[in-house]
């Protein structure tokens, strides 16, 4: 990077090239750090006040500093760039700097394996260069296979500079220096850049000359997660005697973040300070702890639990005989429904590399299937340890290559045969002609495929070109927090927000049709009848309705009084927690707080069982807790318990239980019932509403059906 004094010059109100170049480098290093590939980066500054490089001798190569040697970039480098990278007071020849970089690459890649060597030059070219060595430099670049990229404050092309319009969006770099032409050094420099780039790459070379501004736009997207495809060699078999050697690659799959969060101590930030302990305990009142070694595994068989040890399970389980890709038969493609694709990946199957016989055999199959519009149904097993799948192999013929596309299909057990009421011939829902034409117009106005000037249809919203916003956001926040540990998290970047919105042109086009839809279709949010009933039930707001629940509990309490007389109740037991609790509250032998605490302890225990009988018991407990709280005028304990219970519903999978609470309308105690409550009646009414959680698949990890990637992590 050129840090010479001319890099700091700029028109008033303009960002100096130095700052822009610095940002480009920051973004570039950021991407490298989060992509965590093994690329190594060095940083050479020229125009520095000092000199620090291997070639400096006898006044040559002065004011050039090797700031960082070739190594993997890290946060330290990011911080250095942030705080230590300052404009210099000198100017240095960028060709000299190029030579220093070449030397650095040559010296520091010795003994290392690499795929590519690249030098990126960020400069304003505003210095006198000696061109006499140019040919030598170009030759040695070619010999060493080093590629070059230039980043300049202005575009390469003079015309673009003049009319201010490059091919990039928005104001292009030309506006960085409006009205000011280039210095003679810069003009000369540009010629040399063109010269070098065309000698290296011929015409395409000029594409590697960028402006700072364009680079910033492109680099602000974090590198997409890139994984090396892992080859899966196998044999495609048809019957017992026809075999074709193939290789599969995972082509499409949901990419996950590479790292998970670790738990650290809030003060020390050390993860070793946090210990996690899992204990096993019996379902008795004392929650007696049991050693892990004293447990065995079992499975539910109806109302029984059948002990079935891991060893036995392994011995008796289904065993597959290793990897395979065996054709079971062929079928019409139309019989395979797109929405019944299973699994999380698509595998592309090619013939084995460098085996032309296999290539011809597979090609025959692909072309036969393609012309018959058929697909192969195959048994697929990734390896001996993984479960077999049944899937479809579709033919795929591209201009450059042919392959099969393999997708998993469902097993009978995977399908849920739900029926839904009919829509089309249902008088209540049948749309009228005018409604249909409104929908028709809406669709026409919102097409995301448009015709360009040549009549080609262009997709204006390609999802597969959008980077996963989850990763972009995560890296943005990680980077921000890494550099500014005490700042709050930044907002989502505007470009990312835009990328997730409907394209502007479409939004504008659909205004009128959307208004039409709005007027033609009456849509009204339904006020829940159930909830109305709830408030009436619970709060007794309508006096003429008998309050069935209250009566029931009162009866129970009288019954309890008799019990109390018979025996002393000192704590809330597990047999009849409601009775015990009510007794404790009446007797006042323990404080109300304590009684409640004992009761909630029992409730938690009951809920740990997750079965309907225990749910009913828990509901009775909660009902009693509520009633007693209302009559003691203490809403806080109950409300805070209910709130924490609600929070724990997703994690403990208590949705079913919560549904029961909804049925019984056991909600928070509102101000209307107890003065001290901080909950409004409306909040109480809404409290029970819950978003349903997606069913969580508890698939044992080792049973995972084979992934082409699994082995990658083990290498």
């Amino acid at each position: 990077m050129d840090v010479g004094f001319s890099m700091s010059n700029s028109e008033p109100g303009q960002e100096p090239p130095f700052e822009q170049a610095k940002k480009v480098i920051q973004k570039f290093v950021q991407r490298q750090v989060f992509a965590e590939n093994k690329d190594e980066v060095g940083l050479v500054l020229f125009g520095t006040d000092g000199t620090k490089n291997r070639l400096a001798k006898d006044g040559q190569y002065e004011n050039i500093t090797v700031h960082r040697h070739l190594m993997m970039p890290d946060f330290e480098l990011l911080e250095e760039i942030e705080s230590e990278l300052q404009p210099g007071g000198q100017q240095a020849d960028w060709l000299d700097a190029l030579v220093v970089c070449m030397d650095l690459l040559q010296q520091e890649t010795m003994g290392k394996k690499f795929e590519r060597l690249n030098i990126v030059l960020l400069t304003d070219l505003n210095v006198q260069t000696s061109a006499d060595q140019l040919d030598v430099i170009i030759n040695s670049l070619k010999k060493a296979g080093i590629t070059l990229q230039f980043f300049l404050p202005f575009p390469l092309d003079g015309e673009d500079r003049a009319d201010g319009g490059g091919d990039g969006p928005g104001p292009s770099a030309a506006s960085a220096r409006p009205g000011k032409g280039l210095s003679s050094q810069q003009t000369q420099g540009l010629e040399m850049v063109k010269n070098i780039m065309t000698s290296l790459e011929e015409e395409d070379g000029l594409e590697e000359v960028h402006t700072f501004r364009d680079a910033l736009e492109k680099l602000s997207i974090f590198k997409r997660i890139d994984r090396r495809p892992m080859a899966w060699p196998c044999q495609l078999t048809i019957g017992s005697s026809l075999t074709i050697r193939i290789v599969g690659y995972k082509a499409v799959t949901e990419e996950k973040v590479k790292k998970s969060w670790t738990i650290v101590d809030a003060q020390s930030h050390q993860r070793d300070d946090v210990k996690r302990e899992t204990v096993y305990c019996l379902n008795d009142d004392d929650e007696t702890e049991v050693q892990k070694d004293d447990t065995i595994q079992g499975f539910r068989y109806g109302s029984d639990i059948v002990p079935f040890s891991k060893v036995d399970e392994d011995q008796m389980k289904y065993k597959s005989d290793g990897k395979c890709f065996s054709v079971l038969g062929f079928t019409k493609q139309e019989l395979i429904r797109r929405h019944q694709f299973m699994g999380s990946q698509v595998v592309k199957v090619f013939a084995a590399r460098d085996d032309e016989h296999a290539a011809v055999a597979l090609s025959a199959l692909i072309r036969a299937l393609d012309s018959l519009k058929m697909a192969a149904i195959v048994r697929y097993a990734y390896d001996r340890r993984s479960n077999p799948q049944v899937g479809a192999a579709f033919p795929c013929i591209k201009e450059k290559y042919e392959c099969l596309l393999y997708v998993q299909l469902p097993f009978m057990e995977d399908l849920r045969q739900f029926t839904f009421p009919m829509l089309e011939n249902n008088k209540k829902f049948t749309p009228s002609e005018s409604q249909l034409s409104a929908a028709d117009a809406l669709i026409d106005s919102m097409m995301l495929v448009e015709k360009d000037e040549d009549g080609e249809s262009v997709d204006v919203f390609k999802v597969n070109h959008i980077p996963n916003p989850q990763f972009q956001r995560l890296f943005q926040c990680l980077h921000h927090r890494g550099v500014n540990p005490d700042d709050p998290l930044p907002p989502v970047e505007p470009w990312l927000k835009r990328a997730l919105e409907r394209p502007q042109a479409v939004s504008a086009r659909c205004q009128a049709p959307l208004q039409d839809v709005k007027t033609k279709f009456p849509l009204k949010v339904v006020v829940k009848k159930k909830e109305q009933k709830t408030s009436a039930d619970v709060f007794g707001s309508s006096a003429d309705e008998p309050d069935a629940k209250r009566v029931k509990v009162d009866e129970e309490m009288e019954f309890n009084l008799a019990e109390i007389a018979a025996g002393n109740i000192t704590s809330v037991g597990s047999v009849n927690p409601v009775r015990d609790f009510c007794a404790l509250v009446r007797q006042k032998t323990v404080s109300f707080d304590q009684a409640c605490q004992q009761l909630t302890h029992r409730i938690e225990q009951l809920l740990g069982n997750r079965s309907p009988e225990y749910y009913m018991k828990s509901i009775a407990c909660i009902q009693a807790f509520r009633d007693q709280s209302v009559s003691s005028g203490n809403a806080e304990l109950f409300n805070s318990y209910m709130q924490s219970l609600k929070r724990s519903v997703p994690d403990r999978n208590l949705q079913e239980f919560w549904d029961l609470l909804i049925q019984d309308a056991l909600t928070l105690i509102s101000k209307d019932e107890v003065d001290g409550s901080t909950i409004s009646k409306q909040d109480a009414n809404q409290f029970l509403a819950f978003e349903q959680k997606e069913e969580v698949q508890a698939a044992p990890v080792q049973e995972d059906t084979g992934d082409v990637d699994d082995l990658l992590d083990m290498m």
Binding site: I238, T243, V252, A361, P410, E613
Partner: protein
């Protein structure tokens, strides 16, 4: 005759057994009772009904019940049944009354109540009008409380005449106008005997969401899962001595002072570029929030823009929710009809729940289809197809090779033609699950060995060979040279090349010295080591690693050694 009666009893008991074993696997929370009527002995909760024998009370079934049925089967079983139950006067009315008591004795809310009558007698009371009347009244009472009564009759000489008596007892076929659905008229006894070992799931929406078309035009939809990989039910931990279930409790405590750590005492961290970055748990959640849950319409695209290979997850299904926003069904139906007519799909942004990042989905219209028996084969609604982001698509280095000639392709077409079949999505059972269920059954019912499974995922090689005849050889002659062996492992070549390099290649499991590791850390070259070596190194330095991913091991070592 006695043998005939024995055969019939056996048939029915087998049916009951299969109902039990199927229920245990498909829906183990269902409560089932088994009541015999026309018995000599009586056994029921208050013993108020004569000649009614409640063999199993209404409860969730387990292995004991199946074993109980087994006790009644066979020659010995018949004798046992004769002794304990016997046969006597028949009064279906009493039996139905008893059943209605069984239902009402249950304190739980029952979502669905069904009563199946197994019989071979179309005139059970032999013309006793009073008994017939009583049975009709009791049946009507039951139906009133929401019980569906089904008849599972055996064939009998001269045919079983439902119109004689039972037509008044059973529930009428479900009202067409109510659901607009055609239900199969009568389930057959044979259906019951088919053992289905698959978990049955209740139709329940995964979530109810707002579907925004833009500008405040919102409808409500329910999101349903119609296909999801079924997995083995999870194991339960038991106490070794008592077989009592045990629960797990997880807690965090401080390594030095042993104090319990509450959620607020902990934070989350990740390491990037050798730096630890720390966040609050709430922040970690907040990062994932982009918008409120819901579907937001982006626009429409022609169906051919939906690529076959753009698949990352099983699809979902949406259906309008009139109860949330009235009018939803009408807009939904209009969109469904028009999308399907214009052959387009709707592209939407989908956020399933709070603090979940968005995904883009294609809503593909699906109109209702009925099968021959007028049963719904595909429901009306939109299939929700998940679309991949740029990160989900991998760059592959395609293999380019020679292509086949027309002659070769034609030969393969013959092969394809010989092996064609009609694919149906429900025709393959998962052999892993089926084996697991049979193993469980064998253990629970004290069987000597599990019932064998038929592995439908295996190719029927013999049949295929027979159908192909000489075609396979003919094709091979066209594409493979005589000395070519496609089964030869290509790996063999590499092996010989390696063996030349000497046995030194096979590296012994060498522990790596601290110095070497430090060098690797300094040069950021830890990545060159293998996972086992890294794991050993972690152990060596007593580094606790939660992760097993390579990068996590590297981070852990880097943190430790650069201290």
């Amino acid at each position: 005759t006695k043998t005939m009666r024995l055969r019939r009893t056996k048939r029915i008991l087998e049916c009951v057994r299969s109902v039990y074993t199927s229920k245990i696997i498909s829906s183990d929370k269902d409560l089932v009772a088994l009541v015999f009527y026309g018995t000599e002995q009586s056994k029921n909760p208050r013993n108020s009904f004569k000649h009614v024998y409640v063999y199993h009370d209404l409860d969730s079934p387990g292995s004991q019940r199946v074993l109980d049925i087994d006790k009644l089967l066979g020659e010995k079983g018949a004798q046992f049944a004769e002794k304990t139950i016997g046969s006597g006067e028949t009064s279906l009315g009493e039996a139905l009354w008893c059943c209605s008591n069984l239902y009402s004795d249950i304190k739980l809310r029952l979502s669905h109540k069904r009563l199946m009558i197994f019989t071979c007698r179309d005139d059970p009371h032999g013309g006793d009008g009073a008994k017939d009347r009583q049975a009709r009244t009791k049946a009507a009472d039951l139906k009133e409380t929401g019980v569906v009564i089904d008849l599972m009759h055996l064939t009998k000489p001269g045919g079983f005449d439902v119109s004689l008596f039972f037509c008044d007892i059973v529930s009428p076929p479900e009202d067409e106008s109510e659901l607009g659905l055609q239900i199969e008229p009568c389930r057959k006894l044979e259906d019951l005997q088919k053992r289905v070992r698959a978990k049955e799931l209740k139709k329940r929406s995964q979530s109810r969401l707002t579907f925004s078309l833009g500008e405040g035009v919102n409808l409500a939809v329910g999101v349903y899962v119609l296909a999801r990989t079924a997995t083995k039910p999870s194991a339960v931990k038991l106490h070794r001595d008592t077989n009592e279930p045990v629960r797990t409790k997880t807690r965090y405590f401080h390594a030095h002072n042993g104090g319990i750590l509450l959620p607020n005492d902990m934070k989350r961290a990740q390491v990037y570029g050798k730096k630890q970055i720390v966040m609050e748990k709430d922040e970690v959640d907040e990062i994932k929030k982009f918008d409120d849950p819901g579907l937001v319409l982006m626009g429409f695209k022609p169906m051919d823009r939906l690529k076959l290979h753009h698949h990352i997850r099983p699809a979902l299904f949406i259906y309008p929710e009139e109860e949330q926003i009235s009018g939803s069904s009408c807009v939904f139906t209009a969109l469904l009809l028009k999308c399907s007519e214009k052959n387009v799909f709707a592209l939407c942004r989908y956020i399933p729940r709070r603090n979940t990042p968005p995904r883009f989905v294609a809503l593909v219209p699906q109109r209702e289809e009925l099968d021959q028996s007028q049963t719904q084969a595909t429901p009306p609604g939109f299939n929700v197809i998940f679309l991949p982001f740029a990160d989900d698509i991998r760059t592959l280095d395609a293999h380019v090779g020679p292509t086949a000639s027309d002659e070769q392709v034609d030969k393969m077409k013959e092969i394809v033609h010989k092996l064609r079949f009609k694919y149906k999505s429900d025709s393959f059972e998962n052999p892993v699950l089926q084996q697991h269920y049979r193993n469980l059954e064998a253990l629970a019912l004290n069987m000597l060995e599990p019932e064998p499974i038929e592995d439908l995922t295996m190719p029927k090689v013999q049949m295929m060979d027979a159908r192909l005849g000489p075609l396979a050889q003919e094709f091979k002659d066209l594409v493979y040279p005589p000395d070519y062996n496609p089964e030869g492992k290509p790996a063999a070549k590499r092996k010989t090349a390696e063996s030349g390099g000497g046995a030194a290649e096979k590296k012994p499991k060498a522990e790596i010295s601290e110095e070497e590791l430090k060098n690797h850390v300094a040069n950021s070259t830890l990545g060159k080591l293998t996972v086992p070596v890294l794991k050993d190194a972690c152990k060596q330095f007593g580094i606790r690693t939660t992760g097993t991913k390579k990068q996590e091991l590297i981070d852990a070592l880097t943190m430790q050694l650069s201290k």
